[in-house]
């Protein structure tokens, strides 16, 4: 259990060394035998990773900050309202008391709920390693399901979210049962007068952004048509059949949630 960056860096690397934050993913995978790292480096004692900082245009969230702490933070509620909206839907209080944003991100699940908020907030990942620090946008940091650009001797120190107080946030998640369900499909969005940001969960190998639809929203002006927006949005998804739902069901859910997003925004916005 390293206590500072120097010590942490000296412990990383090695064949199958794993970093542990809240352990809500890692320990479940170890218990089920799907993973057996020879060494686990816990961040539990790390200094300086537990802060939520106001950086002006952005908010920095340290890698040890738990989901429960995010829900209680006034700065986040005021400047990144989409984040608590999404985090509230994650697991149970027990899970949220341990789980971290960085753990959810590095896990890189296409169903990772908080990753949706990171895409919508144009988040930057602050990565440190023996060779110093580098920064990367979340969209390029995630390479595929469970895969990121993180190398073995690197770790995520913090995540920076763009403040989005002027946007109308929405998040819809459809799961199998209300309690702690992994999303079958989810749609998150931020809408201002001129701009829409949208992200889909669980309907592609990673969280998906319907870029063509977003461009259309910004350019169409008077001619804007919901059907055309939905058609373009659906180009971004490649849902699969799996134990939780069929591809057809997933597409239908996404289409309906996209329409709901537009409807709710018109009513409130």
């Amino acid at each position: 259990m390293p206590v500072d960056e120097r010590e942490l860096k000296s412990m990383l690397g090695g064949e199958d060394c794993k970093i542990m934050a809240g352990g809500t993913d890692l320990l479940v995978r170890i218990r089920s035998g799907r993973l057996s790292p020879s060494r686990i480096v816990s961040l539990a004692r790390m200094k300086g990773m537990d802060g939520i900082l106001d950086l002006g245009e952005e908010v920095s969230i340290g890698s040890r900050v738990t989901m429960s702490e995010l829900l209680k933070c006034e700065l986040i509620a005021a400047s990144c309202p989409i984040l608590p909206m999404v985090v509230r839907e994650i697991g149970s209080p027990q899970i949220r008391n341990r789980a971290t944003l960085a753990g959810n991100l590095v896990n890189a699940s296409p169903a990772g709920d908080s990753i949706m908020a990171l895409y919508l907030s144009n988040a930057t990942v602050v990565i440190s390693g023996v060779n110093g620090e580098r920064r990367e946008k979340v969209s390029s940091f995630i390479k595929g399901p469970g895969r990121t650009t993180l190398s073995r001797d690197e770790y995520v120190g913090a995540i920076l979210l763009e403040k989005t107080p002027g946007y109308f946030p929405q998040f819809y998640k459809v799961g199998q049962r209300s309690a702690m369900a992994i999303a079958v499909a989810s749609v998150g969005s931020l809408i201002s007068g001129q701009e829409i940001r949208m992200a889909f969960g669980s309907v592609a190998p990673t969280v998906a952004v319907p870029e063509k639809a977003c461009e259309y929203f910004e350019k169409a002006g008077e001619k804007f048509d919901d059907g055309e927006f939905a058609r373009l949005a659906m180009l971004a998804i490649s849902p699969i059949d799996d134990v939780r739902a069929s591809a057809w069901y997933r597409s239908t859910v996404v289409k309906n949630l996209v329409q709901r997003t537009l409807n709710v925004w018109r009513k409130k916005g």
Binding site: M20, G23, L27, S42, S92, P93, Q94, R98, A179
Partner: protein
């Protein structure tokens, strides 16, 4: 490695393996109210409070809570006197087999400490991670509400 756990006010200095889970360590120390069933962070029967917050001991390394304060149900009841949530659970008939109850009592207690006047929705959300295979949760939600009232009443007297 050596760690110190403060469990219900009792200090335990113990030797553990870095890979030991809190659940087994607590049970070995005699805190048998901490129960194991799914072992995969899905059911909530292994819930304990760490620094007042509910967490799942089946998926927490004992080493990661070294030096911290842990509460189990044994620490809530005082001798023969039950905790108000336990009383209310009995009164509402909210325990059938009882296996899930310690987890529910602790999760409920953490909720009431933070929010002494929870709405029905607050209670439902708080108990999201506690699975009960016998009851339909309704009686347990009622019990938490009743306990909340009883506990507030105590404060005002």
């Amino acid at each position: 490695m050596k760690i110190t756990l403060n469990v219900n006010g009792n200090l335990h200095e113990i030797n553990i393996d870095p890979g030991d889970y809190l659940l087994e360590i607590l049970r070995d120390l005699g805190y048998k109210s901490v129960r194991r069933s799914c072992h995969s962070a899905s059911c909530g029967t292994c819930t304990v409070l760490v620094n007042g917050k509910p967490i799942l001991s089946c998926s927490t390394f004992a080493a990661s809570v070294d030096g911290q304060t842990i509460e189990t149900v044994e620490g809530l009841s005082q001798g023969e006197k039950l905790h108000p949530i336990q009383e209310a659970i009995l009164e509402e008939g909210a325990a059938q087999c009882g296996y899930c109850i310690p987890g529910i009592v602790l999760t409920g207690e953490a909720l009431l400490r933070e929010n002494p006047e929870p709405s029905d929705d607050d209670i439902k959300l708080a108990l999201n991670g506690n699975v009960c295979r016998c009851t339909g949760y309704e009686s347990q939600n009622r019990a938490i509400k009743k306990a909340a009232e009883a506990m507030r009443g105590d404060d005002y007297e």
